[in-house]
């Protein structure tokens, strides 16, 4: 009997050992299912207990756990939440599986590098990194299920078709290939035709060219509720990356009834507001906001200059038809002594005037993005990853990235990691397109020269008064960025449809499937007898084709991006007292001067963070002992922010004994606090 137990024990430990050996935490190139993500996190936190701990952020709508890995060294001395922190989030869309892998790889890189790599060690000794590698497990699980379809929503039951029934008509895998693809069926009200260039592709019939619509397209499935519609109310759900509160789209059932209606989004936001020490967010999703600076809202040039509503304008003695900067209005309010001695800041003015939310990257923050964009693009080129540029997606409405910049008020960088590569062909490299414009820096744009810009404008059907020289001046003066321009171009009515636009927009996907995946990215159309539609054909692109490459493809991009993310982390603002001076100006009377600086690359806060009130100013607090008295200066000085290398001089006059000491503490919510002791002698 005892022996049996012994054998069982032995075999157990053997299995355990094997498991441990296997799990040596080098990046294993595979996609982790939600359960495997949890296991990975548990294993890694067991392996490095002094460096990290795992906590539960919350549960998804479908009841799956969402984890957060907290990484910081020496937490017994300084608590993790008392340090400047970086938040890494991934796969809020659920179908962006490469993001989860990048987040796990980053965790692994940080933990295994501690004690070996000097800069990594320094980072974890002084800062905290929070990693949430899988925000949308409900959707991610579909990739690993027996029937795959592209899902970016959670499992929250939603009545998409407003018929009082919930999730009653989802897709079905009719041809039993484990994939939900498309059905094409000949129909008198069909608007699609087979693309003559490649009969596998469908295109919308252009009746102006004599093409006549033949086919209807549906996703694969039945009309379960007999309402004549196919798959209009499937399982779930709310798209989490459209459920955040900046520029939320109301009345769209797939984004939720109201912002932050979902347990996943609420769990993350609660965590972020409970951890105001987060000073930087790195996100992995289908958005790349360094390659495409386009923002959710309408581009508004010079949005920090505003018109004052008439009733206030009269009251303030301003002209209601002139635009003023917030600072000018603030100064006028201050000079009128309105607010009864209250500190008036720009945010109060914005509220008072009812200006509404910001919709563009603040002009003061733009250089951060532009400089990093340049560096990032150079890096991509070197790593042969510059194919990412063409289809880079900007920030979406109600997205996590938009929330982080506009409301949470920190710099945020989002990386898509991978895109379907373009088929090789001799492109007219010279020609400028709005797509290319999106990812251009102002410098690159100006380098094109007036001639090319003029040709581009003509091609885009720009009005004649919108000349190249005007545009060049606007870019030079910083009034407009290439990304904003691209956005404006896309809205121009007179846009030419050039010959190359004839290309089927899905042709590149087919080329990718044919040339690189050996045809595995496309299910050939095959006839099927459908119970209500009759003879149909089922086929089309394999789900996840655009988002999830073979895992091996990820190696170089994950290596490059995790390195780039570490570089961003090293760039955070750092307070330092450059020098202190104590000058005796009378008996027991000292004038104290403290020079405070920011040694980091980033400013201590973004301009939007200050406007959003979430990035606090720096507080310099004079700590006086008994018998020491403040004669001049304030017990607490407020420094709005320090840009990289800025120096701020603070001055107090203190009555104190010779040889005594005075302490000054510096604190802000998103910086490591520091203090300095001044000896009076």
């Amino acid at each position: 009997m005892r022996r049996k137990i012994l054998i069982v024990l032995l075999s157990f430990s053997l299995i355990l050992f094997l498991l441990l050996v296997q799990n040596s935490f080098s990046i294993e190139l595979k996609y982790h299912s939600p359960a495997e993500v949890s296991n990975f996190l548990k294993d890694i936190s067991n392996k490095y207990p002094s460096l990290c701990s795992l906590s539960l952020l919350g549960k998804s709508s479908g009841g799956q756990k969402i984890f957060c890995l907290e990484i910081a060294a020496g937490r017994d001395k300084v608590a993790a939440e008392k340090r400047q922190a970086i938040l890494v989030t991934a796969n809020v869309e659920g179908l962006h599986l490469p993001g989860t892998e990048a987040a796990l790889a980053l965790a692994e890189k940080l933990l295994s590098g501690y004690g070996k790599d000097k800069s990594l060690t320094d980072l974890l000794d002084r800062k905290t990194v929070y990693i949430v590698p899988l925000l949308n497990p409900d959707a991610a699980a579909i990739y690993f299920s027996s029937v795959k379809y592209e899902k970016s929503s959670n499992d929250h039951p939603v009545d998409e078709d407003n018929d009082g029934l919930i999730d009653e008509d989802g897709p079905e895998d009719l041809n039993k290939d484990g994939l939900i693809t498309m059905m094409r069926v000949k129909s008198p009200d069909g608007r699609w035709i087979i693309d003559p260039k490649d009969p596998r592709l469908m295109k919308l019939a252009d009746s102006k060219k004599g093409e006549k619509g033949e086919y209807q397209l549906y996703t694969e499935g039945l009309d379960n509720d007999g309402d004549g519609l196919y798959n209009e109310d499937g399982p779930g759900g709310v798209e989490l990356n459209r459920n955040f509160p900046h520029d939320f789209e109301y009345f769209n059932k797939s984004v939720g009834l109201y912002p932050v209606s979902e347990p996943e989004t609420e769990a993350l936001l609660k965590f972020m507001f409970d951890h105001k020490n987060i000073a930087l967010v790195i996100n992995f999703s289908t958005e790349n906001n360094l390659l495409n600076l386009q923002q959710t809202g309408q581009a508004r040039v010079g949005s920090d200059r505003v018109r004052v509503p008439r009733q206030f304008a009269t009251f303030l003695g301003l002209d209601p038809d002139t635009e003023y900067s917030l600072k000018e209005i603030m100064d006028i309010l201050k000079s009128m002594n309105i607010g009864g001695g209250m500190e008036i800041d720009e945010s109060m003015v914005a509220t008072f005037l009812g200006l509404g939310p910001a919709v563009t990257i603040d002009r003061q923050d733009m250089p951060i993005y532009e400089e990093l964009q340049k560096e990032y693009k150079d890096g991509l080129k070197e790593a042969k990853l510059d194919f990412l540029e063409k289809r880079a997606k900007g920030v979406g409405k109600g997205s996590l990235v938009a929330f982080c910049y506009y409301q949470y008020g920190v710099p945020v960088f989002s990386f898509d990691l991978w895109q379907v590569p373009e088929p090789k062909k001799d492109e007219k490299k010279e020609a400028l397109t709005p797509d290319k414009l999106k990812s251009m820096t102002s410098e690159e744009f100006l380098a094109l020269g007036e001639e090319k810009i003029a040709a581009f404008l003509k091609d885009q059907g720009a009005p004649p008064n919108f000349s190249a020289s005007l545009l060049i001046n606007m870019v030079k003066s910083g009034q407009v960025t290439p990304a904003k321009m691209a956005e404006m171009m896309e809205k121009m009515p007179g846009r030419k449809s050039g010959a190359d636009r004839e290309e089927n927009p899905e042709a590149y996907l087919l080329a990718y499937s044919d040339n690189i995946l050996k045809g595995q990215g496309f299910v050939p159309w095959k006839p099927f007898k459908h119970p209500t539609l009759g003879e149909v054909e089922i086929g089309g692109f394999v789900p996840y084709l655009k988002y999830v490459p073979p895992a091996a493809e990820l190696e170089s991009t994950i290596r490059f991006h995790t390195d780039f993310c570490l570089k961003l982390m090293f760039r955070l603002a750092e307070l330092r007292v450059k020098e202190v001076k104590a000058e005796k100006i009378g008996p027991d009377l000292y004038k104290i001067k403290v020079y405070l600086t920011n040694d980091g690359w980033l400013p201590t806060s973004t301009a939007q963070g200050r406007r959003a009130l979430t990035a606090y100013p720096i507080r310099a607090r004079l700590k006086l002992d008994k018998g020491q008295n403040l004669i001049a200066g304030r017990p607490m000085e407020i420094i709005p922010f320090l840009g990289s290398g800025d120096v701020r001089q603070l001055e107090w006059v203190v009555q104190a004994r010779k040889n005594s000491r005075i302490k000054v503490e510096f604190w802000s919510n998103k910086l490591n606090p520091i203090e300095t002791v001044i000896a009076l002698d």
Binding site: D159, N162, D163, G164, D225, G226, D227, G228, P245, H246, F248, Y250, F251, K253, L257, Y258, P259, V260, S261, E266, L269, K270, F273, G340, S347, A350, T351, G354, L355, G356, P357, Y406, Q407, R611, A612, L613, T614, Y616, P617, R619, R621, R634, P635, M636, W667, N669
Partner: protein, 592 residues
């Protein structure tokens, strides 16, 4: 010996509660004790709880009381449901919702809500109007949304403006510390009043007519005093006074429609419904989708408000605006001196208010009343005839001290009950100062002698609105026999009240499922249509589903829909008109 007594005491205390519960049970068998509530004082949370429990015991068949969640400090947020089960379950009738006291200092809404409950229960079986209401409406009432701040306001030192917020600690001054520097009751009189200091260059002087009145100096005139704000000290030594008091946010900016962050809308909270109190109310109201009318209570100013709260939303759709106007204008008659106005146009901009959430996302017609207004001379401000001198008075900023009219009212009508005479005090920062002024119950809340009237008139407005919710009925049902066992049924559904069975906005935005007409029993629905012109026999076909079809636009207020059904079957069948918010009605039809 002493020990024995102790044992006995413990034993007694164990037995006693059981004895009492026996007594209570025995009492239950007897006719219900009459509950008498008075509205000559303000109810704290404990007394409110007792009152609700007593009412529930007295009217168990009509009323249920449930806790819909706990406040931050752990108080139950009570919700009362009133329904007459003999006429059907609550969720099959149009529901009317009331809440009060979302702002902690705006306390009298709770008394209005409690009075409304009390009035409905007491008058059921007595008054035809109440009988009719409980025939085909249900009521959902949350007397206080903010019990923490209610008790704070009633029991702790505060002023008439605070705490407006809930009591989740909040870092108002962004220094990393929470609620560390609130007002302080320096003179220990239980109220936060004001501080003034003698200063020859001050901008106020004492009125020659009334020593309690502070008059602002005219240009060039020499002053005597300056105001130093509310009673308090610099608790955290940062050089500022009272800059981070209890809470510091606004729950009525935390609702999920047109929500904007703190930098656009002060007090909005980190994200919609981030506090337990707003969450609880959201969950409660969303769990009862039959709610079609709603009323919130605030103070003060004598207003019947409707949305939108902000200009960016545009105006309310014309069809829905007619409903608001119809009820709002009647409200002005029920509530003399109150003005029916629109928040963004006539008051100020509110993002994320409950009123916009209820109407715009849930399709509920909602009003918000600002209870009570200053009646210093016994007349509402709007009716007051003013001389030139009065005009000058009105245009001058009397500051926290109050206008001569207000002070006189306190002296003559309230006999000084809510007035603190200026008394000297030694302040750690300001030195010799004086503390005094109007106390917390002296402003914004009605004087107790006026509270019953506030309660009754506003309850009357609620019940009027509730009565104006849709009241549907079948009319002119005509059956004609066709060939092959088919029957044609023409019927008309009318709405006797002003509120439609679906708001125009809900139709436009697809906020909830449409009304549906269902055929039950031995009949198969073959075809159906809307009779758009019954005299010319024009119909518009409806899409038949599983023996039912949707009536997308519902039944308009004071309007009708005419339907034609083609049914296969024999014998008796039942036609059900099922409106999510307009109630469920049915009619038996014999096929012959």
């Amino acid at each position: 010996m002493k020990k024995k007594i102790l044992y006995a005491a413990i034993l007694m205390s164990l037995i006693l509660p059981t004895c009492f519960s026996f007594i209570a049970e025995a009492q239950d068998q007897k006719p219900k004790p009459e509950v008498k509530l008075t509205f000559d004082h303000f109810y704290d949370h404990a007394e409110l709880t007792r009152a609700l429990k007593m009412l529930q015991q007295a009217y168990p068949e009509l009323m249920t009381v449930q806790s819909i969640g706990k406040s931050y400090q752990g108080r139950d947020i009570w919700a009362v449901i009133i329904n007459n089960p003999k006429t059907g379950p609550a969720d099959k009738k149009p529901g009317f919702y009331i809440d009060g006291n979302i702002h902690g200092n705006e306390i009298q809404g709770t008394e209005v809500a409690l009075y409304t409950i009390y009035y409905l229960l007491k008058n059921f079986g007595q008054l035809d109007f109440v009988n009719r209401l409980l025939q085909d409406r249900s009521f959902y009432i949350v007397p206080t949304m903010n019990p923490d701040s209610r008790d704070y306001f009633l029991h702790l030192a505060s002023d008439s403006n605070s705490p407006r917020s809930g009591l989740v600690p909040y870092d108002d001054d962004r220094d990393g510390l929470f609620d560390e520097d609130g007002a302080d009751d320096l003179d220990g009189d239980g109220s936060i009043t004001f501080m003034r200091k003698k200063d020859p260059y001050g901008n106020y002087k004492v009125s020659p007519d009334n020593p309690m009145v502070m008059i602002p100096c005219k240009p060039g005139e020499k002053g005597e005093y300056i105001f130093l704000g509310s009673e308090g000290i610099d608790n955290d030594g940062d050089g500022l006074i009272n800059e981070d008091g209890p809470g510091g946010y606004d729950m009525n900016r935390n609702f999920g429609y047109n929500w904007q962050p703190n930098y656009v809308q002060r007090g909005a909270g980190d994200y919609p419904f981030c506090w337990p109190e707003t969450k609880a109310v959201r969950d409660f109201i969303m769990a009862h989708p039959n709610i079609m009318g709603a009323q919130s209570f605030h103070n003060y100013g004598g207003m019947i408000l409707r949305g939108p709260g902000a200009k960016n939303l545009g105006e309310v759709l014309p069809q829905d605006r007619q409903v608001y106007d119809y009820i709002g204008k009647q409200g002005e008659k029920i509530l003399p001196g109150y003005r029916y106005i629109t928040i963004y146009k006539d008051m100020y901009t509110v993002y994320g208010g409950s009123i916009d959430f209820f109407y715009n996302l849930l399709g509920i017609f909602t009003f918000s009343n600002e209870l009570d207004f200053d009646q210093y001379a016994g007349l509402p401000a709007s009716e007051k005839k003013s001389s030139e001198e009065d005009d000058e008075q009105v245009n001058r900023w009397f500051g926290p001290g109050g206008s001569p009219d207000e002070i006189l009212y306190h002296q003559l009508v309230l006999m000084g009950e809510q007035l603190v005479e200026w008394k000297p005090y030694h302040h750690p920062l300001y030195g010799e100062i004086e503390i005094g002024g109007v106390k917390k119950f002296g402003r914004r809340v009605p004087a107790l002698f006026r509270l019953p009237e506030t309660c009754h008139r506003n309850a009357a407005f609620c019940l009027y609105h509730a009565d104006q919710l849709p009241r549907l009925a079948f009319e002119e049902v005509r059956v004609s026999k066709l060939e092959n066992g088919l029957y044609q049924i023409d019927l008309r559904i009318i709405n006797k009240q002003v509120t439609p069975s679906i708001s125009a906005l809900a139709v436009q935005r697809k906020l909830h499922r449409p009304d549906k007409l269902i055929v039950e029993g031995k009949g198969k629905l073959i075809s159906a249509g809307f009779l758009t012109d019954r005299y010319r026999n024009l119909t518009q076909p409806a899409k038949i589903r599983d023996n039912y079809f949707f009536v997308e636009n519902g039944v308009p207020g004071f309007g009708q829909v005419n339907l034609r059904l083609i049914v296969e079957g024999s014998g008796e069948l039942k036609v059900v008109y099922d409106s999510l918010k307009g109630g469920v009605i049915e009619r038996k039809i014999a096929l012959k």
